[in-house]
C-alpha cells in the first residue's frame, strides 16, 4: 500500500517560510481553497495556513540551538481525526494514504481538531469548514503538469530542499532512504498514530585538529627563517692565510 508523505530535514531548514506561503498561494486558489484571512490589513491578522513554521530555542546561552520546525498534517497511518468525525467528512484515502476533508460533508464541529494531537487542522473561521494540508493532491495526479511538478508546492519551492516527498512504504523511495540514512523520526510515536511525515534531526559536523598539523616541515615560515645573507664584499677568514 502506498503512503505518501513528507520527510522534513531539520538539518537544512532555515525557517524561511517559503513552504508556508507557496502552500497558501497554490491552495487558496486550488481545490482546497480558499484559505481565508481575517483582518488581512488590520490588527491581529490571522488566517488559514496548511503549513506553519514554529521557531523555538533549545538550551541556554551560549549553548543555544534555534530550531525552525515546519509543521503540517502528518497524514497519520492511523489518523485519530477520522473516526471522530460525525459526518464522515474526514477520511483517509486507501490508494495513497492522504488524509483529506470533504468540505461538503464537514459541519465545522471541530472534533477532528480536538482529536489531532499535532494541532495540524485549521478551521476556516469564515466558512466554518475544517481545512488542512492535502499534500497538494490536486497536483499529484494532474497529467497537465510536467511530471517533475506533480509534487506538493512546498517541496518544489523549498530553497534548502529540506522537504522530501515520496512513498514511505516503498523502501527504494528517496523519502524512505532519507529516513533510514539520517535517523528520520516521527512526532510523538507514543500516541500510536503512526504519522507518515517524518523529520530528520540536526547533524553536527566538526573538524578534528591534530597538534602535528600545526608543525609541518613545509611550514612557509621556514622559508623566511634566514635573514638577509651577509654581503660577499665583506672580508672573511677565507680571504687570508698565514700558514
Amino acid at each position: 500500500m502506498t503512503q505518501l508523505a513528507l520527510v522534513i530535514d531539520l538539518n537544512t531548514c532555515v525557517g524561511c517560510h517559503a513552504c508556508v506561503t507557496s502552500c497558501k498561494e497554490w491552495n487558496t486558489s486550488g481545490e482546497a481553497g480558499p484559505m481565508v484571512d481575517r483582518n488581512p490589513y488590520a490588527a491581529e491578522p490571522t488566517g488559514t495556513f496548511f503549513n506553519r513554521v514554529q521557531s523555538f530555542e533549545v538550551g541556554n546561552f551560549p549553548h543555544t540551538q534555534t530550531v525552525h520546525f515546519p509543521k503540517s498534517c502528518l497524514h497519520c497511518e492511523d489518523p485519530p481525526c477520522v473516526p471522530v468525525c460525525p459526518t464522515g467528512a474526514s477520511y483517509k484515502r486507501p490508494e495513497d494514504g492522504i488524509v483529506l476533508v470533504d468540505y461538503d460533508k464537514c459541519i465545522g464541529c471541530e472534533y477532528c481538531s480536538w482529536a489531532c494531537p499535532y494541532g495540524a487542522r485549521e478551521i476556516d473561521e469564515q466558512q466554518k469548514v475544517m481545512k488542512k494540508c492535502t499534500l497538494c493532491v490536486d497536483r499529484l495526479y494532474d497529467q497537465s503538469l510536467p511530471e517533475q511538478e506533480r509534487k506538493p508546492v512546498c517541496v518544489l519551492s523549498c530553497p534548502t530542499s529540506a522537504r522530501i516527498y515520496g512513498d514511505i512504504h516503498d523502501p527504494e523511495s528517496e523519502a524512505s532512504k532519507a529516513i533510514n540514512d539520517a535517523g528520520g523520526y516521527q512526532l510523538m510515536p507514543e500516541w500510536g498514530t503512526e504519522p507518515a511525515n517524518h523529520y530528520l534531526p540536526r547533524r553536527k559536523v566538526d573538524i578534528a585538529i591534530h597538534e602535528e598539523d600545526l608543525q609541518r616541515v613545509d611550514n612557509p615560515l621556514r622559508k623566511e627563517d634566514r635573514g638577509p645573507r651577509a654581503p660577499t664584499t665583506r672580508t672573511t677568514l677565507d680571504d687570508s692565510t698565514s700558514w
Binding site: S22, A42, P45, F61, Q126
Partner: protein
C-alpha cells in the same frame, strides 16, 4: 471539492522583485488574474525554488496599498497632511519638467535624485548625468557600501552580485553577521548542498537567527568587534605559518617592497623601479621584490624569483624597505587572541581554534582541478588549485563606522588563506574582477557641473588618490551628501542617509527639488526618523519649505508619500519591463556573465506608470542630449525602446542587455541593437547566460585567457593582472596628504587627524565612532537588527500573507538583561539611546549575546501607512530602532557635525547603536512610542478592505 470549468490559463516567465535577489519565476495568469507564481526550474539563480516573499507576490499585486493616480498636494494643504488631489500625467510631467528645466538652466545641482533598491541604476545614473546634477545615488550608502568598497579595494570584487563563496567545493564556510537577504535563494540552495556534502558551517553573529540556526557552530560576538576577531585570526595564522605562501608571493602585493623610512615623503609607498610603464588607471607593474636566492632587490614578478615575504632590507640608495607582508605581520603582532577576547567576548581558545580550522582546512584539503590555464605573466599551469575555506558577510560587518577596515581585514584573511577566485573559496562574478580600484572616477571639481550641460564624468566612481575627490578649491564637498569629499573620500555609493538633513540645513547648499524613487526616507530608510519627518515639513521664514519641492514615486502608500508635493504611481514588478543590466548590478554566476529582464505579465493597475518610462519622458521633455536624436527629435519612445536601442557611446555596441545583440541576435556583450531583443529574452526564460570556458572560470585576476576575453568583450579596458591589495597604497596616499607629506590636495585642517587615523594602509581595529562619543556605562548594550527572511523590510508590510508572519516586532533580550533591569518576558519596556527613546515589548531569548539586544528590521510602520488600518500591529506594537539612531555623530555645541558613518566610505553606521533598557510604567499605554498622527489614505487607493479576505484568483470571491 467541486470541479470547476477550466479557466483561460497562461504561464509567462519573468523575474521576481519581491526582494533584490532576482529569481526567475513562472507566473500563471488565469482569466487575467494572477493564479500562481512559482520558481522557474530553468533559471540559473533559483533553479525552480522560490522563497516566502516570492510566493506571496499575488498579495503584493492586489494590495490595497497600491497607488493608482498621479497626485498633487492640495493648494494650501500642509505638507505631510496627505491632502492630495488627482492630476493627469500630463499635468504631472508639465509641472515637474518646467521646474527641472529652470533648475538645469540655472544650477543643475539644485536637483537631487535618490533612489532605493531600484535595480535600474543604469537608467537613473544616466538621467542624473545627462541632467548635469552630481546629486545622485541609490541606497548603497546606507546599505552595504563598506562591503562593496572594502573588498573591491582589496580583492577587486565583492560579495553577492559580484562574487561569493564557492559552497559547491568548500569544506569550511564562515558567515559573519546578518546577511540573510543578500543573497537569498542562491545562498540557501548552496548552503543546503554544502551541509549535505559534509562541510562545516560556522556562524559568527551576536544572534542565532536566520542561517545561523543550521550552523554547526555558533560563535556569539559583540557587535562592531568583528575587526578585532579577524585581526586576531590573521595574527594566529601568520604566527603559525598557516598562510598560503605561494599564493601570496605570486598574486598579491605581499612581497612588494614598501619604503619604511619615516622621514621620506614616499613613506609607506611602494618602492618603484625606473622601469618604463604605461600610465593607465591600473597599478603599474614597476614594484620591487627581495629575492631569496640572490638576496637582492629584483623587479616584481621577475622570472624564477622567489620573493621574501618577511624581513627588513636596505636598498642600494640606503633606504629601508620591507615587504608589505612584513608590515602586516608587524601590525597584527599586537592583535593576540587574548586581546581580541576582551573586545569580542569570544574566548581566546575559540579564536585560536577558528584560525587553526581555517588554516589547516585551506592547506590540507586542497582541491586540484585538471584544468590548464595561463597566467598574466605567460606561465602555463597544468591545473587550478583551491583552498576550500569560504566566507560570506554583508550588512552585519558593513553597517559599522569601523566597517571598511573590518572588511579589509576579512579580504586579507581570505587572501592569506589563498582563497581568491579559486575553487572552494571566494569566486568572482562578471563584470568582476575589476582593477583595484576600478577605473571609473567621480568628477574632480565643481567645474564638472555646468548649467544646461551634462555632468562631466559619472556621478559615482572609485577614487584612487586625493586628486580623484569631488571637491572645490577650499577642499569642500561639491555633492549635497558630501560624497567623495575629505569627510567620506571613498563613498562610492553616496550617502543617501544625509541628503535630507543636509538639504534642510543648506549645508553645503540648499536645493530646490528632491526626487525620491522607492526609498522610504520618511521612515525606515532614514536614521533619526522623527526629526527627518520634521525637516521635510520645516519652512524658512518666508514660508517656503526648506526643501522646496519633493517628488516621490512609489507603487505603494509608504510613509514618504505623505510628504510629497507630487506623487507618481509606479507599477509593480509584474506590470513592467526591467533590465538587470551589466551596466548596473547583473545576476552573473561564477561560471560567467548573466543578465535578465522582466516583462509584464498583467497590465498596469489604474494609471500606474513605470518610473523608467517617467524618466525617459522627463529626459525627453528636458531635451537631455542622450534622450534626443541629433535632429532634436525624440529618441526613445519609452524604457522598453531605450533598453534595446541605447548604446553607452554611439556605435559602442554596448547597451543595457548583453544577450542577442546584433541585428539578428547573433552577438553577445557587444553588437549593434537588435529590434527583437525583448522577444528573444522572453522566449528564453528572460535570461541570457554566457558560460565561460572552464579555464577562464578561476584565477581571473591573473588569468590571461580570461583577461583578454574580458577586454575583447568590453568588460575591462586593460588586461593587466589585478594583484590583491594586502597593503593599500591607495589609503596611504590619503594618509600622506593628511600628514602634509604629499604634494597636491590636502584635507582641511579640521579633517587631517580623521583622515590620517582612518586611512591606514593596513587594517586596524578601532571602537565604533558612536561608542567613542557617548557614555558607555550609561548605554551598556549594543542594539542591532536582523533581516527577516520572510519579509523584505518595508516592501512587504502591505502583504496580507507576509504580515501574518511578522506583524509586529519585539526587542529580543537576554533574560539576564531582564533580570538586571527588573522586567519580565513580554513586558513593555523603554529602549533609550543618547539620541532618543522608543517604547516596545520585549522577548527573552537565549539565542543572543547577553550584551546585545536586537529586533527585526523595518517591521514597525507609521499609523495608517501601507494601506493598513490605524490599529494594525505594525504601528501599535511594532517599532523602529531608527528613532534611536542619529544620522550624525553626537557632538558638542558648535562642533563640526559628521555623518554617523564610516569615515572612509560614508557607510551608515546603523549597527553602532548603544542603548539602555528599563521597564515601562504600568500606567503607560500598551502601545509603542513614538506615535504619529494617522496617515490618511490618498485619492486613487482602494477603500479599506473588510474583516475577511478569501483570495481565490481575484479578490473577495
Amino acid at each position: 471539492m467541486t470541479a470547476k470549468a477550466a479557466p483561460k490559463s497562461q504561464v509567462k516567465s519573468t523575474t521576481c522583485y519581491m526582494c533584490a535577489c532576482r529569481c526567475g519565476i513562472n507566473v500563471t495568469v488565469e482569466d487575467g488574474e494572477v493564479r500562481f507564481i512559482q520558481g522557474n526550474p530553468a533559471h540559473p539563480i533559483n533553479k525552480g525554488v522560490l522563497c516566502a516573499k516570492g510566493a506571496s507576490g499575488i498579495m503584493k499585486q492586489y494590495s490595497p496599498a497600491r497607488l493608482t493616480r498621479p497626485l498633487r498636494r492640495k493648494q494650501g494643504a500642509e505638507r505631510g497632511s496627505s491632502e492630495f488631489e488627482e492630476i493627469s500625467w500630463e499635468e504631472a510631467f508639465t509641472t515637474i519638467s518646467e521646474r527641472l528645466h529652470h533648475i538645469r538652466e540655472t544650477d543643475p545641482k539644485k536637483f537631487a535624485l535618490y533612489t532605493g533598491r531600484d535595480q535600474m541604476q543604469a537608467l537613473t545614473g544616466l538621467f542624473a548625468k545627462q541632467f548635469g546634477t552630481p546629486n545622485y545615488a541609490a541606497h548603497g550608502g546606507f546599505c552595504s557600501v563598506n562591503m562593496a568598497a572594502g573588498l573591491i579595494y582589496t580583492i577587486g570584487g565583492s560579495f553577492w552580485e559580484f562574487g561569493g563563496p564557492d559552497l559547491e567545493r568548500s569544506r569550511l564556510f564562515v558567515m559573519l553577521g546578518t546577511a540573510e537577504d543578500h543573497h537569498s535563494n542562491p545562498m540557501k540552495i548552496a548552503l543546503a548542498k554544502f551541509k549535505r556534502n559534509g562541510g562545516k558551517f560556522i556562524a559568527i553573529n551576536p544572534v542565532r537567527s536566520g542561517y545561523a540556526a543550521i550552523a554547526d557552530e555558533w560563535i556569539a560576538i559583540k557587535p562592531g568587534t568583528d575587526g578585532a576577531l579577524l585581526l586576531a585570526v590573521i595574527h594566529e595564522i601568520i604566527a603559525l605559518g598557516l598562510y598560503d605562501r605561494d599564493f601570496l608571493s605570486q598574486y598579491t602585493n605581499s612581497p612588494d617592497l614598501v619604503n619604511v623610512d619615516p622621514d621620506s615623503d614616499d613613506f609607506g609607498l611602494f618602492w618603484r623601479s625606473d622601469k618604463e610603464v604605461e600610465e593607465t588607471c591600473i597599478e603599474a607593474e614597476n614594484k620591487m621584490w627581495w629575492d631569496r636566492q640572490q638576496e637582492a632587490a629584483v623587479h616584481s614578478h621577475s622570472e624564477h624569483a622567489d620573493p621574501r615575504l618577511m624581513g627588513e632590507f636596505e636598498a642600494d640608495d640606503g633606504r629601508k624597505i620591507k615587504p608589505a607582508f612584513q608590515l602586516l605581520k608587524e601590525r597584527v603582532e599586537q592583535y593576540t587572541p587574548e586581546w581580541a577576547a576582551g573586545i569580542t567576548g569570544i574566548d581566546a581558545d575559540t579564536i585560536r581554534r577558528l584560525a587553526h580550522e581555517m588554516g589547516i582546512t585551506a592547506r590540507d584539503e586542497k582541491i586540484e582541478l585538471p584544468v590548464p590555464w595561463t597566467d598574466a605573466w605567460g606561465r602555463e599551469h597544468e591545473s587550478i588549485t583551491g583552498n576550500p575555506v569560504s566566507f560570506h558577510a554583508m550588512r552585519g560587518l558593513a553597517a559599522h563606522s569601523n566597517g571598511f577596515q573590518t572588511i579589509r581585514a576579512l579580504g586579507i584573511l581570505m587572501t592569506i588563506l589563498g582563497t581568491i577566485d579559486r575553487p572552494g573559496g571566494f569566486r568572482h562574478k562578471a563584470p568582476f574582477p575589476r582593477p583595484i580600484p576600478p577605473c571609473a572616477k567621480p568628477p574632480k571639481s565643481p567645474d564638472a557641473v555646468q548649467p544646461g550641460a551634462p555632468l562631466e564624468g559619472m556621478p559615482l566612481g572609485f577614487p584612487a588618490s586625493p586628486e580623484d575627490l569631488f571637491i572645490d578649491d577650499q577642499g569642500e564637498a561639491v555633492r549635497l551628501d558630501k560624497g567623495f569629499s575629505w569627510e567620506y573620500p571613498l563613498s562610492v555609493h553616496g550617502l543617501m542617509h544625509n541628503v535630507i538633513t543636509n538639504a534642510w540645513r543648506g549645508d553645503p547648499y540648499p536645493i530646490d527639488t528632491l526626487m525620491l524613487f522607492m526609498a522610504n526616507m520618511a521612515w525606515n530608510s532614514s536614521m533619526n526618523t522623527e526629526r527627518v519627518r520634521e525637516m521635510l515639513v520645516d519652512k524658512n521664514e518666508d514660508g517656503e519649505y526648506k526643501i522646496p519641492f519633493l517628488v516621490v514615486c512609489d507603487a505603494f502608500h509608504s510613509e514618504t508619500i505623505a510628504f510629497a508635493d507630487i506623487v507618481l504611481p509606479d507599477t509593480t514588478y509584474l506590470e513592467r519591463y526591467d533590465a538587470m543590466s551589466m551596466l548596473d548590478r547583473p545576476i552573473s554566476e561564477f561560471e560567467g556573465p548573466i543578465d535578465s529582464v522582466r516583462v509584464p505579465v498583467v497590465p498596469p493597475k489604474g494609471e500606474c506608470r513605470p518610473f523608467q518610462d517617467v524618466l525617459v519622458e522627463l529626459g525627453t521633455r528636458l531635451k537631455l542630449p542622450r534622450f534626443m536624436n541629433l535632429d532634436g527629435s525624440r529618441k526613445f519612445k519609452d524604457y522598453k525602446d531605450l533598453v534595446i536601442n541605447y548604446e553607452t557611446e554611439p556605435g559602442s555596441g554596448i547597451g543595457f542587455l548583453m544577450g542577442w545583440r546584433g541585428k539578428g541576435g547573433e552577438k553577445f556583450m557587444r553588437g549593434e541593437p537588435n529590434p527583437n531583443q525583448w522577444e528573444m529574452y522572453a522566449k528564453n526564460n528572460c535570461v541570457y547566460q554566457h558560460e565561460l570556458p572552464r579555464s577562464f572560470q578561476y584565477m581571473r585576476n591573473w588569468n590571461r585567457g580570461y583577461l583578454h576575453w574580458a577586454q575583447d568583450h568590453g568588460l575591462i579596458r586593460y588586461t593587466d593582472p589585478v594583484n590583491l591589495h594586502l597593503y593599500s597604497e591607495v589609503l596611504q596616499r590619503f594618509r600622506l596628504a593628511a600628514e602634509g607629506k604629499r604634494p597636491g590636495r590636502q584635507p582641511p585642517d579640521h579633517l587631517r587627524e580623521r583622515v590620517r587615523t582612518h586611512f591606514d594602509p593596513l587594517p586596524f581595529y578601532s571602537e565604533p565612532l558612536e561608542t567613542q562619543a557617548i557614555d558607555k556605562d550609561r548605554y551598556p548594550l549594543n542594539a542591532i537588527t536582523q533581516r527577516p527572511m520572510a519579509m523584505y523590510h518595508s516592501w512587504d508590510s502591505q502583504n496580507a500573507w507576509l504580515r501574518q508572519i511578522h506583524a509586529h516586532n519585539y526587542l529580543f533580550v537576554s533574560p539576564r538583561v531582564g533580570l538586571q533591569n527588573g522586567f519580565g518576558d513580554g513586558d513593555w519596556i523603554w529602549v533609550e539611546s543618547a539620541h532618543g527613546r522608543v517604547r516596545c515589548m520585549c522577548r527573552f531569548s537565549e539565542a543572543v549575546e547577553p550584551g546585545t539586544v536586537w529586533t527585526w528590521n523595518a517591521i514597525g510602520k507609521a499609523r495608517g501607512a501601507w494601506g493598513l488600518d490605524g490599529n494594525a500591529n505594525e504601528s501599535q506594537k511594532g517599532f523602529l530602532l531608527n528613532h534611536l539612531i542619529s544620522e550624525e555623530i553626537p557632538s558638542g555645541e558648535g562642533e563640526y557635525r559628521f555623518s554617523n558613518s564610516d569615515p572612509i566610505t560614508g557607510q551608515a553606521a546603523w549597527y553602532d547603536l548603544r542603548v539602555r533598557v528599563y521597564k515601562a510604567d504600568d500606567n503607560e499605554p500598551k502601545q509603542t512610542f513614538p506615535q504619529f498622527a494617522t496617515q490618511q489614505r490618498v485619492p486613487g487607493m482602494e477603500p479599506a478592505r473588510g474583516k475577511w479576505q478569501a483570495f481565490f484568483k481575484g479578490l473577495g470571491k
